[in-house]
Symmetry: D2
Subunit: 403 residues, 4 copies
């Protein structure tokens, strides 16, 4: 008797990937190895429960990987360095973590010598492309299995299939589909399928419970969040998590992202991301004080591109490494404190303090008298600065007169 | 006896330009023609009062120019088309209008055959450069006079000079210096000279008086604001003013801009700009639904540059005309309604409705099953899409093994 | 008996599309309407011969479309305005014309009410994608048929199939595959499949016959080539053709393009494009004299992107229209003469003459004494210009000392 | 008696800087320390002669600094990594070396505790700005002296002044002013002051003496030229010099640069730069084979900017360091051989050979049958790729019908 083929399945515990375990093991004869890649959305208890469910469904083995350190080190820090908000709004909460789930899945498949990898994404969104691309690029000989996309079953059909095979779990469809990770929580529902409706208050997992105002100090070292209110964090990941604890009760960082999917259609999704928004806006303010104009200009160019390629599943493109070197190099002076004030649903950036502040450095002050240069100097400056346009205007007028 | 030289002075009615009238006419022997260029900051009554003051100070003539139509047509609409927020924050409230004040000043000087133009800016900020550049470029033979920058007098010295010459008006220094125009109001004070302090609540001219929430509909046609809540405005300028009336009581659109001045130092200024912020954010959302990904990408590139050059006094650079053609051409589909909700100090974008909406167009829906393409199509897509990186990964690994 | 389905085939007269006529009509039962879209590669005699061949092969009808006017007006002129050379080398000789062949094919299919369109491209290059994209976007309900890609027949198998069906024409495989159009001729062969070999002299259709040197004057009006050596052309297309006549005997404009295909692999192709290279380089020189620094900067950005999207079959992307408006607007001053000298295998740009020349305009001259500004002005200029970096250096040193 | 103030003068041995020594020491009472910063233009014998001349003119001391290693390491290698040709033409021969002359001058002044620095540039070009900026930024308390710019003496007046003070050397004005360095030689003359004339053959220092064709192999390691024709060079600087020896007799790399000066006027200058052109073009070809599409795209963006800022004297801008990190990081795969053929006045790039070649890597071949993907895959690819424009076209048509 031949060995069954082994498949590593990216398993989240939802209906779709639960269906996949049963379908692949029972109907397709695969030995299914369920893998949950934790990018900040699962507690130890939840992972324990996931393991039990996977094995009950017929998985040959279950494993949970803590991808947070790699996710932070290889991705989130660059999103902070780059102040990355897709379409000026969305911190890439889902896009970024999906890549690391795909990376860990193919890595694990190679480790255990599996012949296949599987994901449970549908055929209508970005996630399928992210998984496919990573599997194609890094999983040279691995078969890629995508039951949900291929079978196009309805939710009800999946439930019936599971029930037929003795799985009578409650699969109540939440009114809103939630995807949670350290860099934000996405929220989809009936409203986000329209162009004109906003998500209602109750759709958001983090409800308003704080009153405020609450003043906060964020500490950055070379662009990384290293502490809050004078207390140094053990690791930037811990600082992000601590900030999320403080800020989530203010219902901060909610918005709706409207964007172009990789497959060419427009998509809309709600999200809440208190800590990511606070960090990015605070970090950006600190940079306005500590970087030159052209550093800021080129950072924005490259970081927008970085966000776009990441969003589109192209984290493995070598230019991403090159951009990371650029971004990292710009952060050498992005050290200091940022002062914020939290209110229900909003926050204010109060100011910064930094040894690298290029404002108030002892030179001339904006709008005040100064001694670093004279009015005569500015006259020379503007005279020379106007040369090109003065000539252009002169030539232009001469031609108009000639006509 | 020789004719006195004529100078056109950009006159705002403040201490500095009041000093200039007296100084230029009395001490320098110029015939001073005071010109107030209204970009939305002055009521007819205020202009009347300014006229009286100018003549009392010794101006040979006074004129007020309504620059709003030109300012809107040649500038504000492009700032809307481009969603221009300098450093992702500031709608260029002051920068933009200063250019039109300079343009009107030099134009008037040419009209009346004056031999000189004058402005009252100090030697420490951006405004002097904006005035100087326009005067240099368009005012070929005009002398440029800048008494405040040249004399570097203290406020007190200016007052004493005026008093010595019989002008005993109250020149109480407001705690905050305010510059008001249709595209926003800037606020400077002791706090904005530091890096760490925010402006206090009372520094802002528009205080919170509304409670909310208040739902609003903005109507856009080819990128221009043409109506509010179903009522068509007589002109986009009127629509902006009406929106400002509605929104200002919510104390919306306040922030602090930190940026690089043209003369190389960092500067910080507070502002409130309710209507500009609402319009730009609503317009941007409408574009997310009605423009393609690459239209949005290149609009952002060009619009940021447009904002930067405008901020730096380079409105006359021919590339600005080229960018305007690009921006205008992108707006042919930016027509529709945007739904907003105002709250004290903040607002929400609820959604849009447009015949040009590229979402929900009858094709496949994001995250839902669809019939426009199959899972098989996406497999082919991702297979081909992965080619470049698959090869790159293959070659890269081969080289690592060879080492 | 049911009507046969009608298909419009983009027909070039080569082995592949000849096979398609026979295959589609005989084996697939289609009524084949052969369409040759002439983008400058065919003489009237050649088109006459193509018609006969198509009908002999079993086409139900034959039509030749002169796409040159549209091709010039909607594409080539923008390639000139943008000085477009892909990867700094290749004038997009094939990429550009392929789009117009696809556009005309789908347009004709819609006109005659055909149910299908077909092209004869293989599955290994860019052309299939260009045809597919245009067919998909504009041919809503049209079936897309691609026999060569689907069947993957060898050349020999195609010949045998034709012979079996009575077509015993000589199909001698040329050593080099040539694609000729008004904007250049591509040359592929054994060498271009390697990375290290150049095409031999004899691979190029235009052989060296002139001796030179020959001096030439090109006349441009608003960016378009309107005459040569003082003689005005009837149309820019005629000017391009006349220049090609003059320049081809010098064996100018040969090179090898190495680039990334749309499907992710690298490709290499030789080309000769005497007139396109002369025009682009001459036009670019004229722009260096007549456009400002930032106009040149942004033109290059947008034109490179334009060339990339065109190359990748995305001519229908709306941003292309926006870019065209930008490019067109920049050309208002690109009028004048450019002087060149042709030698065997190379040419020199001697200089230009233009009423819009921003050099030698009566203002200060580079490297010479001048009266438009003083040394004192430049001192002020550089003092202010150094402010930002002076502060940055000061702050940076202070921090190093503190460490 | 008080100590004379010490000035370090950037000394090239020409009439202008010779005048400066005599003028500053004799008329202004400075103790003049002449410094020649060698960036590849001087032989040891020439430096010896310069020393004698400087001392004869009254310099208190003379020093020659070999700036080549720093110049290569901190600048030229990035110009190669970035394939930098200003305005697509000029390798920045003069611009780049001027910066290092300024840097060494201010460094030396700080070392010896001088109170002033001086340069001999006129008030009409770029060089004055380059010197001024570096002196301003790095020479905090140093006086900046610019006699030639300030006095605006004619050539004849300078000669007469020197003769009056006993210096009766021959100062024959060469018909063409030449500036020579390792990265190219600039040539200015009567023709370059016009827009329409090219430099005559005899204006170029390197005359044609070779016949050719001559085949050459250049070896690159991580983007740096490390050898020629199989022989490893001791240092990239030695490789550049050796290549120049080989290539100069072919009169290769001549052209005329037309560009925007820092002070706003257009300038024109001829140059010859055989080795720089060969290296940049060969390096660029190697990159086309070994970098991905987006690596090439962003390299070009950043490198053009790098070239622009360098040209404009902004080498000290921190973004330049960030760009250097990016460029350096892209070069990890730019290793291999490039094959060239030299002819009189021109050269051909024949091809490359590299272990990092992304073409011919065992995957599908451009234009040939392949097994890495199927025609079906490409159909899926183009179907999905067309989605966005298909929707856009659909919506666009719907709106036209509604109108």
């Amino acid at each position: 008797m031949s060995q069954p083929r082994q498949v590593v399945l990216a398993y989240s515990g939802g209906l779709d990937t639960s269906f996949c375990i049963k379908h692949l093991s029972l109907e397709k004869g695969y030995e299914v190895h369920a893998l949950t890649v934790n990018t900040g959305g699962f507690s130890p208890e939840e992972l324990k429960a996931l393991e039990q469910k996977a094995l009950d469904l017929g998985a040959a083995s279950y494993r949970a990987v803590d991808a947070l350190p790699a996710y932070y080190q290889q991705c989130i820090r660059y999103l902070i360095f780059g102040n990355v908000l897709r379409n000026n709004t969305y911190p890439l909460s889902v896009s970024a973590e999906r890549m690391f789930q795909a990376l860990e899945t193919v890595k694990y498949a190679n480790e255990i010598g599996a012949q296949a990898v599987a994901h449970g994404s549908t055929g209508a969104g970005n996630d399928q492309v992210r998984f496919d691309l990573v599997f194609e690029i890094l999983g040279n000989d691995l078969e890629i299995i995508t039951p949900i996309r291929d079978l196009q079953l309805s939710r009800q059909a999946e439930i019936e299939f599971l029930e037929k095979h003795g799985v009578n779990w409650p699969w109540e469809k939440a009114q809103y589909s939630i995807n949670q990770g350290i860099w934000g929580t996405s929220v989809g529902g009936a409203e986000t399928l329209t162009s004109h409706q906003a998500l209602p208050e109750q759709a958001y997992p983090s409800q308003l419970t704080a009153e405020g105002p609450l003043d906060l100090t964020l500490h950055f070292e070379k662009g990384e969040l290293t502490g809050i209110n004078g207390a140094k964090a053990s690791h930037p990941v811990a600082a992000i998590q601590a900030l999320q604890e403080i800020a989530a009760p203010f219902a901060i960082g909610r918005d709706t992202h409207v964007g172009d999917t990789i497959i060419g259609i427009k998509g809309r999704v709600g999200f809440e991301a208190a800590a990511p928004l606070l960090i990015i806006k605070a970090h950006h303010l600190l940079e306005k004080h500590t970087l030159t104009k052209w550093q800021q200009y080129w950072k924005e160019q490259l970081a927008n591109w970085y966000g776009m390629l990441l969003h589109e599943g192209q984290l493995l493109e070598p230019v991403m490494r090159n951009i990371e070197r650029f971004l990292e190099d710009t952060q050498s002076t992005v050290t200091g404190k940022v002062f914020l004030r939290l209110h229900p649903y909003r926050f204010e950036l109060l100011g910064i303090e930094s040894g690298y502040d290029l404002m108030n450095s002892g030179f001339g002050q904006y709008g005040e008298m100064n001694k670093a240069w004279s009015g005569q100097d500015v006259k020379g400056f503007t005279k020379i600065l106007s040369n090109a346009l003065k000539i252009q205007h002169f030539v232009s007028q001469k031609n108009e007169q000639d006509d």
